[in-house]
């Protein structure tokens, strides 16, 4: 028996298949595009095809993410906060705080030993301190998102960034470039500003070890280091960070299927 999680995000849709030992046996990642339901179906089918698993072996399907109500072939929908918490807990069983930074949102989740959500906090109305901030800054510097993390680690004298506004950062970066600051120092300053903002946000729900970092921005090594520096503790990062929501959804799916079968 297999449980499936389908995470429909605003830009990408991810599907994960877990067996009843909670091991990943299939996955898919596609662009969401305009038709959300079709994207969910396609991701699910691709995961099945890639794993060579027949549809009737799937006992339960959970939809999550922004488009969770459009996963019409699913059995239920669960919010991404609950799924990220569960997913991070599976990958890092000792985690008690999850920091999730995506393209336009930032969340802090306090989790219990069973991966249940104890408390959470989100940014709203403002994309300060999210991936978009770094993306905009990278563009002004003529760099790609993949480069900026590593580059920031080579700083010797990080600049101090006055704004976390995702739009205003562009002019701040231009000012520093005009002052001939080197790219590494500017990048380190930017990463530090985001880390400070994130830690401020997550402090509202209390930070407990172990801390795990998920979401697209967790693939940025510069951000990982900046957060560790602000928190004064090591943080967990998984190569599965993109799939964390889908993994959590699939965990719920496996649990529900077992309950139904019982």
């Amino acid at each position: 028996m297999v449980g499936a999680g389908v995470d429909v995000g605003s830009t990408q849709t991810k599907a994960i298949l877990l067996n009843d030992e909670l091991q990943i046996v299939g996955r898919a990642l596609i662009n969401t595009g305009a038709n959300v339901t079709r994207a969910a179906e396609r991701a699910f089918q691709e995961a099945l095809a890639g794993a060579g698993i027949a549809r009737d072996r799937v006992g339960y399907i959970v939809g999550t993410g922004y488009g969770r109500y459009k996963v019409t072939f699913g059995d239920t929908q669960i919010t991404e906060i609950s799924c990220h918490a569960r997913g991070a807990s599976l990958i890092f069983p000792n985690t008690r705080t999850v920091i999730d930074i995506g393209g336009q949102d930032a969340k802090g989740i306090r989790v219990g030993e069973d991966g249940d959500v104890k408390d959470f906090v989100m940014n709203d109305k403002c994309a300060a301190g999210t991936g978009r901030f770094l993306a905009n800054a990278a563009e002004v510097l003529g760099l790609t998102l993949d480069e900026i993390g590593e580059l920031s680690l080579g700083a010797t004298n990080p600049v101090r960034v006055s704004t976390v506004c995702t739009v205003f950062v562009e002019s701040d970066v231009m000012v520093y470039m005009a002052q001939d600051k080197n790219v590494e120092d500017i990048l380190a300053g930017l990463h530090s500003a985001i880390a400070a903002r994130t830690v401020s946000l997550v402090r509202r729900i209390g930070i407990q070890d172990e801390v795990s970092f998920t979401g697209g921005v967790s693939r940025n090594l510069g951000m990982v280091r900046a957060l560790e520096e602000k928190l004064g503790t090591r943080i967990n990062v998984s190569p599965e960070s993109h799939y964390m929501g889908a993994i959590g959804a699939a965990v719920f799916a496996v649990e529900r299927a077992a309950k139904v079968a019982a």
């Binding site: 919010t79 609950s82 959500v117 408390d119 989100m122 709203d124």
Partner: protein, 387 residues
């Protein structure tokens, strides 16, 4: 007795409430030539005094999500609650020119300053500011408030061009006692059988009373209550919550619905608390001004805008939560609302000690999409149902 379905009555109420131009007040004035109306900013207004002068009191609580703010921004700092700006906007765009007077109250700094800014901008409207006593355990609190009400009464007399007799006032107290009692009945039904009347519907029914005379509100409420009793509805699998913190700037009605649809039965709330300020009836015998003042001091609900050292606000919240057997408390505050947000610190600690799950969320009156807040409430509901 009006016989209409609940949905029809609620729809009528909603239209009344979501009207920044105050058509209902204008219609009332044109059908009562010479009569006047007074706009009441949150939280609590002694509306009986206004009514006793033959005038119509109506709530002025900003423009909700029905107006754009394009003029008022220039009069206020950026980081202030929206209701202060939108109320000013209503003034600057002529929407509240149907009011011959406006009354504000000592609830917080932004509101206090709004009163002054309003007064400077609209010289043709009587603008009054009521000071409520802050030390309710002082022996001077009652005489102070009686004096303040008498001062207000003198202004109302001048505005209305007629005296306010004690009997006039007793009749008005009685009228509002009746509507408040019916609203309490509505809330009681909802608390016991929330599937019969949603918080969204109760909201529309209660708040309609802030736009029309109490007699009309009474008729609407009686019709609604009768229809609700006969309603055929099944309970759904939802958690029961109290929503606390929205006593001044009001959430859009659709936000209340979004919270309910996220999996909650809102069995109690403090929406528009000022028009439901008393825990029982105001006495209709004896000196009516004193009865109103005493009721403010001794018979009123706890609130973030009422400083009362005799009682712990957080204790009341916990008591209510336990009495209603709720699963959780949602602290829903307007952005920048200092009274609500500062009190959250007290509530959070008390709720944690009492082991009552709770979450803090912020809203703005100017919201049109509710996905974000709905997701957060859903997550909260999930965290409770998954145990």
């Amino acid at each position: 007795m009006i016989t209409m379905a609940v949905e029809e009555i609620v729809s009528k109420c909603r239209k009344l409430v979501e009207d920044p131009a105050y058509s209902a007040v204008r219609e009332w004035k044109s059908s009562h030539p010479g009569a006047k109306a007074v706009g009441c900013f949150p939280v609590y207004s002694p509306v009986e005094l206004i009514h006793a002068a033959g005038m119509l009191p109506a709530a002025v609580i900003g423009g909700g999500n029905q107006i754009e703010i394009v003029h008022a921004d220039a009069r206020f700092q950026s980081f202030v609650c929206s209701v202060v700006k939108s109320t000013m906007e209503l003034g600057l765009t002529g929407q509240v020119d149907c009011f011959d007077g406006m009354v504000f109250h000592s609830i917080c700094d932004p509101a206090r300053n709004l009163a002054a800014v309003f007064k400077r901008n609209f010289a043709n409207q009587m603008v009054q500011y009521l000071h409520f006593p802050q030390n309710l355990d002082s022996p001077t609190a009652l005489p102070f408030l009686i004096d303040e009400y008498n001062r207000f009464k003198a202004y109302l007399t001048e505005l209305a061009g007629r005296k306010i007799s004690d009997d006039d006032l007793r009749v008005s107290i009685s009228a509002y006692n009746r509507t408040r009692s019916l609203v309490r009945e509505l809330y009681a039904i909802r608390a016991e059988k929330p599937h019969l009347a949603s918080a969204t519907e109760c909201y529309a029914l209660a708040v309609a009373g802030t736009r029309i005379p109490p007699q009309e509100h009474e008729a609407l409420l009686r019709a609604a209550l009768a229809a609700i009793e006969n309603r055929d509805a099944k309970p759904k699998d939802r958690i029961k919550v109290i929503v606390e913190g929205s006593f001044c700037e009001q959430p859009p009605i659709d936000l209340i619905r979004a919270v309910e649809e996220a999996g909650c039965y809102i069995v109690d709330d403090d929406f528009l608390l000022g028009w439901r300020w008393f825990v029982g009836d105001v006495p209709e015998v004896g000196d009516p001004v004193e009865a109103l003042a005493r009721s403010y001091i001794d018979r009123s609900v706890y609130s973030s805008v009422k400083h009362d050292v005799r009682e712990a606000k957080a204790g009341h919240l916990v008591e209510r939560a336990r009495a209603l057997g709720v699963d959780a408390v949602i602290c829903l505050s307007a952005k920048f609302c200092e009274p609500a947000l500062f009190d959250y610190a007290l509530y959070k600690r008390a709720l944690k000690i009492a082991e009552i799950p709770h979450v803090s969320l912020e809203f703005e009156e100017k919201m049109w999409t509710f996905d974000n807040i709905q997701s957060q409430v859903e997550t909260f509901v999930e965290s409770m149902l998954f145990d």
